[in-house]
Amino acid sequence: MWEILVTSLKHGVVTAKPAARLPADLAPAPRHADGEIELLGQALRAEIRRVFRSSMKLRHVDCGSCNGCESELQALLNPFYDLQRFGIDFVASPRHADALVVTGPPALHLEEALRLTDEATPRPRLIVAVGDCACSGGFCAGSFATRRGVHEVVPVDVRIPGCPPRPEEITRGLLKALRG
């Protein structure tokens, strides 16, 4: 208990603050320009937004990603990004989910799993494609063992590109879908 208190007091509240703060005279290394977050699909109607905006439960389905997107999705739950403060959280079952977060091209071996997961998700539901692979097949577009994007298997409502997209970009995509 004592260690817990000491650790918490030492670090303070870290949410929404940079973990590694650069000094003013040091510019960060240039990044690749990420793609635009796209909102598609009929599901993003005002009514659905109103229903989900204060509490949206996500079920992650990995359909063959390199685990970079997984790592960034897990990071959403770390003290810095703290996705739960927006009322958004991950759940263990598609039956509890409002939205499916899909990563991976999808690989052909997992297509059926993705379809079954989608069938098990109660409507209304959103489908969010996270990462270049999920958006368009990414770097493995052209492989015979993968598709060119999740939309080839299930209808996609939000596309968040990146390889992988940073946690703040994923958060921005989710919030944009909810709030417009």
Binding site: E3, I4, T7, S8, H11, V14, P18, A19, A20, L22, P23, L26, P28, A29, P30, R31, H32, H60, V61, D62, C63, G64, S65, C66, N67, G68, C69, E70, S71, E72, L73, Q74, A75, L77, N78, P79, F80, F90, A92, S93, G104, P105, A107, L108, H109, L110, E111, E112, A113, T117, G138, F139, C140, S143, F144, A145, T146, C163, P164, R166
Partner: protein
Amino acid sequence: MNEQTNIELFPLERTLRGLRERFADAVIDADRNSMREHQVVVPAARLREVAAAVHREWGGALITAFALDEPEHGRIRLHYLFSMAPDDAVITLIAAIPADDPRFPSVTSEVQAAHWLEREMQDMIGLVAEDHPDPRPLVAHDGWPRGCHPLRRDFTPPAGMSWPPRFAFTPVEGEGVFEIPVGPIHAGIIEPGHFRFATVGESILKLDVRLGWKYRALETLARGEPVARALEIAERACGLCAFSHALAFSGAVEEAAGVLAPPRARALRSLAGELERIYNHCSDLSGILLDVAYAVGAAEGQRLKEVVQQVCDALFGHRFLRGLCVPGGVTRDLDDAQQHWLRAVLAPVRGDVEALVHAATSNAAVMDRLAEAGALGQEPARDLGVVGPAARACGIARDVRRIHPYAFYRDLDFQVPVRNRGDVLARFSVKADETYESLNIIDQMLLHLPGGLLMEEGVALPAGRSGLGLVESPRGLLSHWIRAGEGGTIDEWRMRSASHANWPAVAIAVLDNIVPDFPLINKSFNLCYACVDR
């Protein structure tokens, strides 16, 4: 000196002498492909015998094994690569089999580490490994059409493949035995794999691990591509070990081209590699604590991971260090101000990891779960060819940075932590200790960063040359092998990650543990699924 001592000393010399003396009639050809790699061609009929001698008598540890389709010669050539640690040498056994009768004697009964590799050769090239103890398909899930072998040269993708997930799991029968299937889609934010437990009560009798769900045919995709595109593919085989993959791939290309990256580039490669190791190990410590419900410790581990990943982003433009390492050198530099900042940001990390480990190991509830769970013995670990922190937790003191030094490691001073119990606590402790060593290495690099170029210009890749890159990724030994094609392209690429070597050990480590401890044991290895399936 007695025989036992001889085995530890000069394994390369013993092997070459043994091949000359005992297998003179079996050796068709012997050649030195590079400073490190000695190739020995034997007839397929003698392959098992010679491999047994290399592994059991002369101390060779299997790095990887693969088959290359050579239709222009009407044959398929099998390659078995052995690390002759502690010598910085690799012995490659090569055997040719006719393409129209692709059967070969499986070496798995003598070299257990070849188990999954030979099953993959069956799937990917259409070989038959005779007398293999478990010849079930590994990657080819049901629904693969007959004759679909993606690593054959004449492979054309079949139309309309269907993929019903039915697989012949080995049944375990007996009174009160239950079968528990888990996956491929798991409850958390995690990669897909299928685990089939046979349990009595809560105790695990047997675990069948079925992977291959994330098969993306990357080795087929990279064939014939220019080096830059093949590097892009290699770097995305895995996200968490992306830099290690880029480094091993670059090492393979550099070996084939006969070039060495300049010293400053090699130093920055070591520095970046250690940053990758630190954020992976912090993530692993966090995962282990999460699975024993020590939420504060888990959050602290995630916080440390985030600090290091933001450092990677700020200094090198990518949280996973993609785009940094290329054949010939590195693409970014660190100036004095950046080095100063790096030192300042990392300064508290060591104390924070120590505090985290102390908090966890002083907590009786945590220690009750970690100690003795998932114990892997040294002998099965050695037989299976387990690598990395998982092996070092069983007392196998091997680290590629020591045995086959690359980047700047030959000139660095660092420890290789080892534990003996092989349980979850041992793997936890090894990773914590390695984190401290990684911080030491970065400190040394920042003090002694050599000047000079970042890139060896004009890396020319002669067609037909092959090269091997070996790296100690955060999970252990990673190998990338390439053969160059015409015009600076990659003709063939074979990759084997540490996770590929270690997965069979998970099925051993869980035996006689309870099912609720499975996530903890699995997390203590924290193996990738993506770079296994490829």
